[in-house]
């Protein structure tokens, strides 16, 4: 027979006192309230999206009937599909460009010693604190100048460049820190084995920093899904909108107002991100750097 333990134990610590139990209870209370704050709106959104009895406004009371009519509306009556297409295009290109540029900068800042290395790193970092939106007039001007010379340079491309540029500083910092933690003896070994700097990065460093690159790619990918202000300001035609800007037309425009469809759109928007998370999960948590040196 197992002896029943007296008192409340947390892991391998001494039993909790009454005060400790009280604090523990409080912890759980805070955590649960926080969960409700997050889950309740999501729950409402999901039910509203599938509720056939909802009109143009989401009402919290009223009857429920399962239906896909809001999704139907979304696909047939709105430009939802082209928004998805736009967003995916912008997000993928942004992620790829960010990875490419940050690979170069992160590796260079970590491995090479050059004049102005620290100063330039700090400068980009400081400039980063100014919100991207503050440069909106500059972006407009830049775009009109560039598109005069290259007519194919669209507003969407401008958006991609802004997203990419915005991410470079912080991500360079992160990647540099990660590469710093990799022994430079790996570089030396590769150099003796006959690698050029490009090959060292591509064949040795990149596979080792893959978890970090995956995170950077993921964040860059999510950015365009979340941002509303820049696409709204930069993009003029509803056909070129991204999801966030496009879906918002279902909320603020009296003619096209349809809140349940907005909820349905929001729900679908989450899908690619969730899929990506699941796909990259292994990369995100793998500890590849283990076992390379010592141990």
């Amino acid at each position: 027979m197992r002896k029943k333990k007296k008192g409340l134990y947390l892991s391998d610590k001494p039993p909790l006192t009454t005060f400790g139990k009280l604090i523990l209870g409080l912890n759980y209370f805070i955590l649960f309230s926080y969960c409700i704050v997050i889950i309740w709106p999501l729950f409402r959104m999901t039910t509203a999206a599938f509720n056939g009895k909802q009109g143009r406004y989401i009402s919290l009371t009223g009857r429920y009937e399962f239906s896909l009519k809001h999704f139907e509306y979304l696909f047939k009556e709105t430009l939802y599909l082209s928004w998805v297409k736009n967003t995916l295009m912008i997000a993928v290109v942004t992620a790829l460009l960010t990875i490419l540029i940050v690979s170069f900068t992160g590796y260079a800042y970590s491995r090479f010693r050059f004049k102005g290395r620290k100063a330039s790193l700090m400068t980009i970092m400081l400039i980063q604190t100014i919100p991207t939106f503050a440069g909106i007039t500059a972006f407009f001007t830049l775009h009109s100048i560039v598109s005069d010379f290259f007519p194919f340079f669209s507003r969407q491309m401008m958006l991609i460049l802004i997203y990419t540029g915005g991410g470079i500083a912080a991500n360079t910092f992160i990647l540099k820190g990660y590469i710093d933690s990799i022994s430079t003896e790996l570089d030396d070994a590769a150099k003796i084995d006959g690698c050029s700097y490009m090959q060292i990065y591509r064949l040795i460093i990149m596979p080792v920093v893959r978890p970090m690159l995956a995170i950077i790619a993921l964040w860059s990918f999510i950015g365009p899904f979340m941002d509303y202000m820049l696409p709204k300001a930069l993009l003029t035609k509803p056909e070129s909108y991204t999801l966030a800007a496009g879906l918002y037309t279902l909320m603020n425009n009296r003619e096209t107002l349809n809140q349940p469809a907005f909820a349905a759109g929001g729900l679908l928007t989450a899908l690619p991100i969730v899929i990506l998370f699941i796909a990259l999960q292994k990369q995100l948590i793998s500890g590849l750097a283990q076992g390379s040196v010592k141990g």
């Binding site: 003896e185 030396d188 084995d193 090959q199 596979p207 590849l288 076992g291 040196v293």
Partner: protein, 359 residues
């Protein structure tokens, strides 16, 4: 291959002083040369300069008579084993070993043959397809060696390769490295701060301190004829006993005259010029005997260290501490006085100013 270092110097960017300066050294073909020195003496920098990982500020590096100063590492026909092994973590053991050859665009067939040959020799065939993270430290060490071997380089460079292994394994690998060196028939340059490794493995030891070479020679020369006070203090465990004192009337007097010694006839010849001058006297801990002698010293035993085959006595003689090693079966009590006589055939004398060897 014969490796020549001619007046080699290194100054790092942004530093005022040279890290290494005026290094002249010739390493003959097939020699096992150990570069020994305390940490921060520039020995790793020197090795990295030979490898081409660090640039050479002044002087010349020659491999087999050819100037190598600006030849990139991959074209120097060298292989290097790193302290941390530096195995590529995302590649299997096989790929790690094959990497340098595949970078050289060797045929698959040759690569496979060489990798298996090296794996056989090092007994790592069983885990050729494991990742470095899945094998033990000793096995990683072998893989690192194997990776260097498959290239069949002319010069092997090793940067403290055994310092991450535990004591037993280190002892074992030491012998194996020597065996390997003999079977491969190449020049090996080995950097370490461990004098045991240097004494046991080297055919030539280079002792460095403060960016300069202190002494070059065979292991027994280092032990029996240290060229200066630094070498005398660095080589040997326990450390050699050093007494400061004066040479007066044909005898050595320590500071407080608790030790007065008449050197052997041979040494006296060389000491003649030092009459009345400050000199240092060095005696190794095992060169004391308990036989009665007219210049016997009486020491007070402070601590006894039992090592099994011998006992190390940390004793007091006036102001000086004297370390004496005695056979393990003899009994010595702490806080007791005992008489010992230094072996006059084994005295080392050093100049008080230049600290160079006299006899």
């Amino acid at each position: 291959m014969r490796v020549e270092l001619i007046n080699l110097g290194k100054k790092y960017e942004g530093r005022e002083n040279f890290t290494i300066r005026g290094v002249d050294l010739v390493i003959e073909d097939r020699e096992f040369c150990v570069i020994l020195g305390p940490s921060g003496c520039g020995k790793s920098t020197l090795l990295r300069m030979i490898a081409g990982l660090n640039s050479i500020t002044e002087g010349e590096l020659r491999f087999g008579g050819k100037r190598m100063n600006s030849v990139p590492p991959k074209d120097r026909d060298i292989a290097m084993v790193f302290q941390s092994y530096a195995l590529y973590p995302h590649m299997s053991v096989y790929d790690n070993m094959a990497f340098s050859l595949s970078m050289r665009k060797e045929s698959k067939h040759i690569i496979d043959e060489r990798v298996r040959e090296a794996a056989d020799l090092l007994q790592i065939t069983d885990y050729l397809y494991s990742k470095p993270s899945d094998i033990s430290g000793g096995q990683r060490q072998r893989v690192a060696l194997g990776r260097a071997m498959v290239r069949k380089p002319k010069v092997f460079l090793m940067d403290e390769p055994l310092s991450n292994l535990d004591a037993k394994l280190r002892e074992h690998m030491r012998i194996e490295l020597v065996r390997l060196h003999k079977s491969l028939d190449t020049t090996t340059i080995y950097v370490t701060h461990d004098q045991t490794e240097a004494m046991t493995m080297a055919t030539k030891i280079v002792l460095m301190d403060d960016g300069r070479i202190q002494q070059v020679g065979k292991p027994d020369e280092f032990y029996n004829k240290p060229i200066n006070l630094f070498v005398a203090g660095f080589i040997g465990s326990p450390t050699m006993n050093i007494f400061e004192g004066k040479f007066q009337e044909g005898r050595f007097h320590s500071r407080d005259s608790s030790l007065v010694l008449t050197p052997s006839q041979e040494d006296l010849e060389k000491l003649r010029a030092y009459e009345g001058k400050e000199i240092y006297l060095g005696i190794r801990s095992e060169r004391f005997h308990t036989d009665k002698d007219d210049e016997q010293i009486t020491v007070m035993v402070d601590v006894v260290e039992m090592l099994g085959k011998e006992k190390i006595l940390y004793t007091k003689l006036g102001e000086d501490e004297v370390i004496i090693s005695v056979p393990g079966h003899k009994t010595f009590e702490e806080n007791q006085h005992y008489g010992f006589s230094p072996d006059k055939e084994a005295l080392h004398f050093f100049d008080g100013e230049t600290r160079q060897r006299i006899n």
